[in-house]
């Protein structure tokens, strides 16, 4: 039973009121052993919004995504998705609610074929055969290379193809938000611009993206808003358009 159903007042009001963000992370703290990784991270992502998360290495960007995906459980703080608290839920429950996670290492299933990799997200209850076929067709239209290699093991793909597969696999969940961790790391420049186009296309289809990146120009171009994270805390937050005009925040938090 959801919280909305349990609440005594106004059950007829939809849990997401107009203007309420799709995803709200409020003051989450996580620890790895005794070391404090996230020291109260707060951020929001709107529907179909592309939001960037910038910061130096090891400041907690990836951990933030893992916490939202339910892979790391925050010790305190709250995560609300679509008006529902999700902190503490198992990762597979979070995924089925509509939060897809594309990790930095891609983590393709090496001994599943490309098609089987896609089916890990596709074979859900309540998805009709026609809908499954449509989702596969869409993924193959986005990434024709995957269609060519659909019967090949995931582990035999190149780095760029694995990144395509990781994004396509996330799309199979029909998510409302995709958590994308450094998708362009180690890719050829031509692939980098393709990834940027895909991120834009996802947003036009109504899918929000929370993008962790090292590539600052790409982030400013793709995102509407950007958060700067430092030592486990969000230090700064601005529209990407403003940051493109004034680089002082980028110099301050990234030292570039």
């Amino acid at each position: 039973m959801s919280v909305a159903e349990a609440a005594p007042a106004a059950p007829s009001v939809a849990p997401t009121v107009e203007g309420e963000p799709l995803l709200r992370v409020a003051g989450i703290h996580t620890y790895y052993g005794k070391s404090h990784i996230l020291d109260g991270v707060s951020l929001t992502v709107g529907r179909a919004e592309i939001v960037g998360l910038l910061g130096r290495n090891g400041v907690g960007k990836s951990t933030t995504l893992k916490a939202i995906a339910g892979i790391v459980h925050p010790r305190s703080g709250a995560i609300a998705f679509d008006g529902q608290p999700v902190a503490g839920l198992a990762p597979h429950t979070v995924a089925r609610l509509g939060i897809a996670y594309v990790p930095e290492e891609r983590r393709i299933f090496p001994y599943l074929t490309v098609l089987e990799n896609l089916r890990t997200g596709l074979d859900r209850r309540g998805v009709s055969k026609a809908r499954k076929a449509a989702l596969l067709d869409k993924a193959y239209a986005y990434f024709p290379r995957l269609a060519e290699r659909r019967a090949q093991f995931g582990g035999t793909l190149s780095g760029g193809e694995q990144q395509m597969l990781a994004i396509a696999r996330a799309m199979m969940l029909e998510p409302k938000v995709i958590l994308l961790d450094e998708p362009t790391e180690g890719l050829m420049p031509s692939m980098v611009s393709q990834i940027a186009q895909i991120v834009g296309a996802l947003s036009r289809e109504g899918v929000a993206v929370l993008l962790v990146e090292q590539n600052v120009p790409l982030t400013l171009e793709a995102c509407r808003r950007v958060y700067f994270i430092e030592k486990g805390v969000v230090r700064h937050h601005a529209l990407a358009a403003e940051l493109s005009l004034d680089h002082s925040a980028i110099h301050q938090y990234l030292g570039v």
Binding site: A90, R107, F109, R124
Partner: protein, 290 residues
């Protein structure tokens, strides 16, 4: 020494029959190890309890095949219960704790069987009693039926893993548990189901093999030891490797018993184990690691 061809052929058939049973036990063991890194020391006791459930169901119904199915299902449920109560709470702990836990479970089950069923071995009647002439022997059809059934069950497992959603879920979980869960696969249920499948296969092997040896509370011990050897020689976690290793080792033991007594022939499997660990510790029947 000259070995007559007829003896050689008989031992080949014996080795394949034993090998198929061993392959069934070992593939459940290696499936469980592959997906959850748990070495299940209670596997032999699931084999033994399966045989006992077979004895009881056979006494109640008089039908061997019903007994086979009932034992498989009952022990699969028992396996799921053992997993949920004993192993799931240990996820994320030192692997040593799961070894101790499953070893503890094996002692409990073994002594439960001794207390419940007594020290005298029970008999499962062969469902197929016919014989055929094989040189100087009257060879029972049932032994061949065991091999055929074992092939069918292992083949069924292979088809289940290779095709269909649940097979994909199991393989994905084996390859990357965290990512499988991030893709929405209900990993806790997958692990429970895999443990139940492994347990059910052990139980089916126990019922199939029961008519050849008699059922007693100790019968699991020697099987699980041999199954461990097979799993290591075949490559930990590799089902095809385990099947190949089971047949390979059983054939070697069968041939060895042409010269020495069957009890001494067991030494062969230990020699193979030691040589494997020395020269190819990743397993004989898996591709060379890069």
């Amino acid at each position: 020494m000259n070995i007559p061809f007829d003896q050689f052929l008989i031992q080949t058939i014996n080795g394949i029959v034993t090998g198929m049973i061993l392959a069934m036990v070992a593939s459940g063991l290696t499936l469980i190890f592959g997906i959850m890194d748990v070495v299940n020391f209670a596997h032999g006791e699931l084999f033994m309890l399966g045989a006992y459930v077979g004895v009881l169901t056979l006494a109640a119904t008089g039908n061997f095949w019903i007994a086979l199915i009932a034992a498989t299902l009952a022990i699969a449920v028992l396996g799921a219960v053992i997993y949920l109560t004993t192993l799931r709470p240990l996820i994320g702990r030192d692997p040593l704790t799961t070894i101790l836990a499953t070893f503890g479970v094996s002692l409990v089950l073994q002594n439960y069987a001794l207390w419940q069923f007594g020290p005298v071995a029970r008999k499962i009647e062969e469902p197929i009693t016919g014989h055929f002439s094989l040189f100087y022997l009257e060879y029972p059809y049932y032994r061949l039926a065991i091999a055929v059934l074992a092939v069918a069950i292992i083949g069924g497992l292979w088809l289940f893993l290779k095709h269909g959603t649940y097979g994909i879920w199991i393989r994905a979980t084996t390859q990357d548990r965290v990512m499988a869960q991030a893709m929405g696969i209900p990993v806790p249920w997958v692990l429970t189901a895999v443990f139940a499948i492994g347990a059910g296969m052990a139980a089916a092997s126990g019922v199939l093999f029961g008519p050849l040896v008699g059922v007693n509370s100790q019968m699991g011990t020697s099987w699980v030891l041999r199954a461990f050897i097979v799993v290591v020689v075949g490559g930990m976690g590799s089902i095809s490797g385990s099947i190949a290793a089971a047949i390979f080792i059983s054939l070697l033991e069968a041939y060895a018993s042409l010269w020495v007594s069957p009890a001494q022939a067991v030494i062969v499997s230990f020699v193979v184990l030691i040589l494997t660990l020395l020269f190819r510790p990743t397993g004989l029947f898996v591709p060379t690691p890069k």
